[in-house]
């Protein structure tokens, strides 16, 4: 039986849900179903959509939104937040180290080849320290829960984590639909995120820049799957939303083409991958980036958030070393646990993984979005055999983890509510000398009964995430 966050073993509401459940008991189910359809209409009207690559007919879809909130008590949150803060601090220290002295390699805690032969490791960043020493200005830490006090970090999204616009729009939608609920339950606010993000980015500006740094969001454009979020964040922060062709290096600065000529930018919150950032340094055919931006960056005249090369920190092969990494840089045991991870590159481990494929989850080291993975317990024999062949031909490309019994939170269904598996992505802002964790996050929920895959590209939905004031 997976751990249910709403109801305990005797079917009584757990503490954090007690007030919500007493409200829910007073509701007419038909009205809730209507509200649920209203919510979808709000998302469509607002244009909160994402693009699905390779699916012509459904070029723009909305992510299903479930109106039952996911509730986390203040006590549970404080514990989580401490663990996340420790981990994020360690990740930044790790990045600084591997691009400078590489003490962790010399100490023998992380193998050299895993870093230097990793595609996510950028030699261009060696010896380069970003303004304020911040590498990961924005991190989304994926967390799963398996019991009352059992939380695991599933993944650290240290490149360009997305989904924060859903955190904000989900809350906005809930407050519009159920204002009375927010009188009864004291929920910590998330809506100041854009302002905090802007302040955090400004605080990371190059030291030499003028009193009020100019911030811009760099998007690949309207056909990108997360374009809505890029526009949303630029709009909410009150900064420009730029595309590669708007930018140019002039006089050693990155500048954007305005109706009155070129104006320099101090901080670029880029939602473009490393590879496409600078055609002179990385992929020459890229039209999404800015030719020469890496030179400006190395000269200390622009902040790029997140810094290039941070992908090495959320690489799945590195992930298995996170407990060592946290301990090495913070001098303390990790407060938040890693999911036990088998490195298929090691022969003995590979054998174990192959023998137990039916019970394991196997992931590509560089994969994301739930693609290219095997969920053993729900896969067919044929799928397992096919996957075993792939695994044997390139073992270093895979890691395996036990199938965790993810916690469940109910969703609204035709008749009442029914439990579904969830995960959680809180968002973390890092500025020089300051780490802030927004109380809430993106709860993703697998809408199919029994399914453990919560990715929106694979039929997952989202929920509003409440952190209580207690």
């Amino acid at each position: 039986m997976p751990f249910d966050e709403m109801l305990d073993a005797d079917n009584r509401p757990r503490g954090p849900y007690s007030e919500y459940m007493s409200w829910y008991g007073e509701q007419d189910h038909a009205r809730l179903l209507t509200k649920s359809r209203d919510a979808e209409a709000i998302f469509r009207k607002t244009g909160i959509t994402f693009a699905v690559y390779g699916k012509e007919e459904a070029a723009e879809r909305i992510i299903p939104f479930d109106i039952v909130p996911r509730v986390i008590s203040g006590r549970e949150w404080r514990k989580l937040a401490q663990g996340i803060e420790q981990r994020v601090a360690a990740l930044n220290a790790f990045l600084d180290d591997i691009y400078h002295k590489q003490e962790i390699i010399r100490a023998g805690r992380v193998p050299r080849h895993l870093i230097e032969r990793n595609e996510a490791f950028l030699p261009e960043m060696i010896g380069m320290r970003p303004p304020g020493g911040v590498y990961t200005h924005i991190i989304g830490t994926d967390i799963v829960r398996t019991g009352q006090d059992e939380f695991y970090v599933l993944e650290d999204n240290a490149r360009t984590p997305s989904g924060v616009s859903y955190m904000l729009e989900n809350r906005e939608t809930m407050m519009q639909m159920f204002p009375e609920l927010f009188h009864r339950v004291r929920v910590r606010p998330v809506e100041n995120y854009p302002m905090l993000l802007r302040q955090s980015l400004e605080a990371s500006a190059p030291p030499g820049c003028a009193d009020k740094p100019r911030v811009a969001v760099l998007t690949p454009g309207i056909y990108n799957s997360a374009y809505y979020e890029h526009a949303f964040l630029a709009d909410q922060m009150g900064v420009e939303l730029v595309e590669g062709p708007d930018l140019r290096v002039i006089g050693g600065r990155v500048a954007m083409r305005t109706t009155q000529g070129y104006k320099p930018i101090d901080v670029l919150y880029r939602r473009v991958d490393d590879d496409f950032l600078d055609p002179l340094t990385f992929r020459p055919e890229s039209a999404l980036g800015v030719a020469g931006i890496m030179d400006v960056y190395r000269a200390g005249n622009i902040t790029i958030a997140n810094a290039p090369g941070t992908g090495i920190a959320d690489d799945k092969a590195i992930y298995s070393y996170m407990p060592e990494i946290v301990e090495f840089y913070t001098g303390r045991k990790p407060l938040l646990e890693n999911v036990p991870t088998y490195r298929c590159s090691e022969p003995d481990t590979l054998k174990y993984v192959l023998d137990n494929l039916a019970d394991l989850v196997v992931k590509e080291v560089h994969g994301s979005g739930g693609y290219g993975m095997l969920v053993g317990p729900t896969a067919s024999k044929k799928e397992i055999t096919a996957f075993a062949a792939k695994l044997k031909s390139r073992p270093g490309n895979y890691i395996a983890q036990p199938t965790l019994s993810l916690s469940t939170v109910p969703i609204l269904v035709k008749k009442g509510v029914a439990p579904r598996h969830v995960d959680l992505r809180p968002f973390v802002l890092v500025a020089p000398n300051r780490i802030q964790i927004i109380p809430g996050g993106l709860t993703r929920v697998a809408l199919k009964a029994g399914s453990l895959v919560v990715n929106s590209s694979q039929g997952g939905g989202t929920k509003d995430t409440w952190v209580l004031e207690d």
Binding site: K45, G47, I222, E243, T258
Partner: protein, 313 residues
């Protein structure tokens, strides 16, 4: 401060919205003409296609002109970049691109217009449904205009949007007149015949001016007054003079805001001079067709000069 690309996006977003509405109106006028049955209605549809500037493209897809094909081509053919469906798609893409420059209301009215029209135009429109579809287009574009006027700050964003609207509108009115200019020449008109009356009303209808004409010129329906109304009348919101008054004003605000003047400002003023304090008879005597062709060319050059001045590309 705004991006050149944003100015460009706003300019085109509003050109496309204007074009959707104008196309709906042209189809409406075409349908009316074909219902009167006074002449070969296919000729009428040819002139409607010409007014919309899509005749050549149409003839690449079809051998000859029929009402149903012309209507379908102008409403929903994706091979026609000026069909209502195409321009609504383009307007909404531009709106997404400039999302940060729009109020929530302006964006949502555009997005909802797109949601409704793409679903309504997903299949060929039946004759019986055509009036309600044309109404929906006018209503939805009207809502965008209303949301825009009611909520947007009167700043550079507003100016570029307005300039796009009026460049497109002036072009449209001038094309309608140019396609039918011969009907307005004294030499070939049979003053007062019923055919003339129908034709003249059709011109007025295609710019939604058949009622307001009566308020200005009372019952005196004649070609000179029609030309005067659509070219020189400063109170008629689709006349060339009115559109260029607005363009000049909006360029003027930009000049003040940015403290800089460009070629476009001079060109706009030159065009306005050809429309201000003029007598319509002088224009007709000097050659109406010539005048309109000249206007269309200058109007489009002005658009290019604005794009250069404000770094659209």
């Amino acid at each position: 401060m705004m991006l050149g690309r944003t100015a460009n996006g706003l300019f085109w977003m509003f050109r496309y919205i204007e074009r959707a509405e104008n196309t709906a109106r042209l189809i409406d006028a075409g349908v009316r003409m074909s219902l009167t049955g006074t002449q070969g209605s296919d000729d009428e549809w040819t002139s409607v296609l010409k007014s919309a500037g899509v005749e050549a493209n149409f003839l690449q897809q079809y051998e000859n002109v029929t009402g149903p094909d012309a209507i379908d081509f102008m409403l929903r053919d994706e091979r026609n970049p000026s069909s209502v469906l195409s321009v609504i798609n383009s307007a909404r893409s531009n709106a997404r691109m400039v999302r940060t420059a729009l109020t929530r209301e302006a964006w949502e009215s555009t997005n909802e217009c797109w949601i409704d029209l793409t679903s309504r135009l997903a299949r060929r429109v039946k004759d019986a449904d055509l009036p309600s579809v044309l109404d929906l287009i006018k209503q939805r574009t009207g809502l965008i205009r209303g949301a825009f006027h009611g909520t947007m700050l009167r700043n550079e964003i507003f100016n570029f949007s307005r300039i796009g609207t009026f460049i497109e509108r002036a072009d449209n009115t001038a094309r309608i007149l140019d396609v039918k200019y011969y009907l307005l020449l004294p030499a070939v008109t049979y003053v007062g015949s019923s055919l003339d009356n129908v034709q003249w009303v059709s011109i007025l209808r295609s710019v939604s001016a058949h009622r307001s004409y009566g308020w200005v010129y009372e019952s005196d329906l004649n070609p000179t007054n029609i030309a005067d109304f659509l070219i020189l009348n400063g109170r008629m919101p689709r006349s060339l003079a009115y559109c260029h008054e607005k363009i000049t004003n909006n360029l003027g605000y930009l000049e003040t805001e940015y403290s800089s003047r460009h070629n476009a400002h001079d060109t706009a003023l030159e065009i306005l001079e050809t429309l201000r304090n003029r007598d319509i008879r002088a224009i007709i005597d000097g050659g109406l067709h010539q005048f309109l062709e000249d206007f269309i060319r200058r109007n489009s050059r002005l658009g290019q000069e604005i794009a250069e001045a404000y770094r659209f590309y």
